[in-house]
């Protein structure tokens, strides 16, 4: 048991440290909020620089624009780049999900043409799975793809929660191609040109006022049959490949609010003394320290398994399930500790630039995005513990006969 790099890993770490110290921008405290468009433009410039240096998409083969390196080297990169103010994981949906889908299912010509541009972020990709009526039950999606006489497919329907759709040149989309068979068998996957006339992107305003996601409408959008990924009707197994890679893409600990909470505990003066001397604060600090440490140490175990050639399983759901709930609980606890003045959200007045006020409004989303708490528990129960599935009302009947409700 040790926490040291192997000689090879240490050499790689030294190499990228050197490169980052010359090329990356240092962190600055309180950078303030920037608009999404300018963050995006900066991210694209940074990724191009990373690509030209050979550090993009570490685990991809070199012929597709990657680094031809191991998963553990990708993790070392993430650890080191986290010390700088540069974006990491900004294009993770394209590079982490869409890329592996193309690698598994596209032709050699397509891979050589599309993947290097994805790796350099010259082309941005989004993932179009979720729909208003198909969230946790994503296989219940209804966006239709119908093949016309000229063999092109016409896409009609609506996708939702699509991150980065407004900046994307391409998307990987899951559509229903046959409503007369059972729901998992009637799906087909394609990639699609997001800049064509039949695609309309509308931002979603979240409950906290932010706009990280979009709705995407398809009105007779056209996809050539050669842009199909996998067999007609083989979309579900293609989607599972993508989702499995999504787990592989998780290389760090998800934000859980602990470092901000620790900062609060160590620095805040409450009306009757330092926060750190309040027995209630101390009790919670101990609890959340243990959870945060548990997540960090669980991550170290997972990285060890990866470095020994293992694939992270559903255990990777742990960080999200624990961290998301913790984030929300921490925000509420700190606001309650501060009392009346904590109701002020103004960054000028609220402690720590209103970190906890923002967190209380944003944290509900983390418990929903990328699989709700409840879905995460089902994944652990079924895939890790091997418990039986719930009986399903939609099993073995054609998709078109599955009962639906009016709520979208």
């Amino acid at each position: 048991m040790d926490f040291n790099d192997t000689a090879e890993q240490a050499a790689f770490r030294a190499e990228i440290r050197e490169w980052l110290s010359v090329n990356a921008t240092a962190r600055q405290p309180n950078q303030g909020v920037q608009d999404l468009g300018s963050v995006f433009r900066r991210a694209k410039e940074w990724y191009k620089k990373v690509y030209d240096a050979g550090y993009a998409c570490h685990t991809w083969p070199k012929e597709y624009g990657g680094g031809g390196r191991s998963q553990i080297e990708a993790v070392i990169w993430s650890q080191e780049v986290a010390n700088y103010a540069e974006p990491d994981g900004y294009f993770v949906i394209g590079q982490g999900n869409c890329g592996p889908a193309l690698m598994a299912l596209a032709t050699e010509e397509e891979k050589r043409r599309l993947l290097p541009r994805m790796a350099s972020a010259e082309d941005v990709w989004c993932q179009l799975f979720s729909e208003p009526g198909a969230g946790s039950d994503v296989a219940g999606l209804r966006t239709r793809a119908v093949q016309a006489d000229d063999s092109d497919w016409r896409i009609n329907g609506q996708k939702i929660w699509t991150s980065g759709a407004q900046f994307s040149q391409y998307g990987v989309i899951l559509c229903r191609t046959d409503p007369d068979v059972s729901k998992y068998r009637g799906l087909t996957m394609f990639y699609i040109d997001m800049e064509q006339a039949g695609v309309e992107v509308r931002p979603i305003v979240q409950m906290d006022g932010g706009q990280h996601f979009n709705e995407v409408y398809f009105n007779d959008a056209v996809v050539p049959d050669s842009w199909r990924l996998g067999e007609v009707g083989g979309g579900w197994s293609a989607a599972l490949t993508v989702l499995m890679n999504e787990r592989m893409a998780i290389s760090g600990v998800q934000p859980n609010g602990f470092s901000e909470f620790l900062q609060f505990c160590l620095s805040a003066e409450l009306a009757d003394g330092p926060a750190i001397d309040d027995p209630v604060v101390r009790d919670r600090l101990a609890d959340w320290y243990c959870k945060d440490a548990g997540l960090r140490n669980a991550n170290s175990r997972m990285l060890t398994a990866i470095s020994q050639g293992g694939i992270p399983g559903a255990e990777a759901s742990l960080g999200k399930l624990v961290g998301a709930a913790m984030n929300q609980e921490i925000a509420n606890f700190v606001l309650q500790e501060i009392g009346p003045e904590a109701a002020v959200c103004d960054e000028q007045f609220a402690a720590m630039q209103a970190n906890f006020q923002k967190a209380i409004l944003f944290s509900p989303g983390i418990r929903l995005a990328g699989g709700t708490d409840e879905v995460m528990r089902n994944i652990i129960a079924e895939q890790v513990l091997g418990l039986p599935q719930e009986p399903r009302a939609d099993k073995g009947i054609p998709f078109c006969d599955i009962p639906t409700g009016s709520s979208s």
């Binding site: 101990a286 440490a293 742990l318 624990v322 528990r377 089902n378 513990l385 091997g386």
Partner: protein, 368 residues
């Protein structure tokens, strides 16, 4: 990074599990529970033969000379099997103190006999306040005086190490139990498979372990170290609860389907898994800190201790819940784990002691 036990250590763990699955079934544990014995003597003799009583004792003193990492994996299996033996008192605590602070003469006199199973020992863990211990024993001119205090395994121990106060501060003292001045009486415990005794000292003859006034530091450090090992026992016990709950709810049917197919049960078991994973991960870090004498040991031990205590309580109570009414019967084994969970989480100080120790350490680290 290599944050995993070695193949050799995993092999030791596998061997321990196989051995205990034969020699320490819950049936076996129940003979102690129902029979009123203080330990499973046959199991203890087998454990001595395996050398476990001397796991971390150097070979020069008759032990196996293994690291604490090997002891951690054995501890997990002892916890999983609910082993009714005094290894924690004798090895994790008493032996550890002698290794840390005993004189050469004390080591030569006691360690070979502890390793060989000729003697058993225990340590009186004083009441824990907010992050520190408060000894109740008084020392004067080599003799110790104390009103009745709780000591695990005292009735089956040949000597007890106690923390006592005198004008020089807190010191540690070794007392043999064969003297009249040491009055040991049995008492009832939440977990009867791990017996507690009331011990009164009426001017008991003692010898000092370590220097005058350094007892609080040594004992505090020793308890940190033992907490990591006990955390592995707790993780082992919690895992056994999850296995038991999974097994029962998968095979029991209600409303025409396995109980485990209801989300209310699945989510309960998923939460048990999560608690165990966090506790296990912190226990691993504790094992690393213990085996390398890391500066981070206090923090690592406190985190391992708190999360393992929480996990075992959560898993043992929800295992009862998942079993429904049968979980509340004497006949079903659920209560054995529930009792042991309480015993282990109290033995080395409750959550109040550990949470305050943890936060004090955080404060210290950030002041530095």
């Amino acid at each position: 990074m290599n944050f995993e036990f070695s193949a050799d250590q995993k092999f030791i763990q596998q061997q321990a599990r196989e051995f205990l699955s034969v020699k320490c079934t819950t049936q076996q544990v129940r003979t102690v529970l129902d029979g009123g014995d203080a330990l499973d003597e046959a199991l203890w003799q087998d454990v001595i033969k395996l050398g476990w009583t001397g796991t971390t004792i150097p070979e020069s003193y008759g032990g196996l000379g293994l690291s604490h990492l090997e002891l951690c994996v054995i501890a997990e299996e002892l916890g999983r099997a609910l082993a009714p033996i005094p290894l924690s008192s004798s090895l994790y605590l008493a032996t550890e103190i002698l290794l840390m602070a005993g004189s050469e003469k004390q080591k030569q006199s006691w360690l070979p006999r502890l390793a060989g199973g000729d003697v058993r020992a225990t340590v009186q863990v004083p009441p824990g306040g907010a992050g520190r211990l408060y000894p109740t024993v008084q020392h004067k001119d080599g003799t110790l005086r104390s009103e009745s205090c709780v000591v695990a395994d005292a009735g089956i121990a040949d000597f007890i190490i106690v923390a006592a106060e005198d004008e020089e501060g807190i010191g540690l003292f070794l007392i043999t139990t064969d003297q009249e001045a040491v009055v040991i009486s049995p008492t009832t415990a939440i977990d009867p498979t791990r017996p507690l005794f009331m011990v009164a000292l009426n001017d008991a003859t003692s010898e000092r372990v370590g220097g005058a006034g350094d007892g609080a530091d040594i004992l505090g450090n020793c308890i940190d170290r033992a907490a990591v090992l006990v955390a592995f026992e707790q993780v082992g016990g919690a895992s056994a609860c999850l296995d038991m709950g999974r097994e029962y709810t998968t095979n029991r049917y209600a409303f025409g389907r396995p109980v485990a197919s209801f989300q209310a049960i699945k989510h309960k078991l998923a939460d048990m898994f999560v608690a165990i994973e966090l506790a296990r991960s912190n226990a691993y870090y504790g094992a690393w800190a213990l085996s390398t004498d890391a500066a981070d040991l206090t923090l690592a031990a406190a985190a391992a201790r708190i999360s393992a205590g929480d996990a075992y309580f959560a898993c043992s109570k929800e295992n009862i819940q998942a079993h429904g009414g049968m979980g509340f019967t004497w006949e079903f084994d659920c209560h054995l784990y529930y009792r042991r969970a309480q015993h282990l989480s109290l033995l080395l100080g409750g959550q109040r002691y550990w949470k305050n120790r943890l936060v004090d350490q955080i404060k210290l680290n950030h002041a530095a």
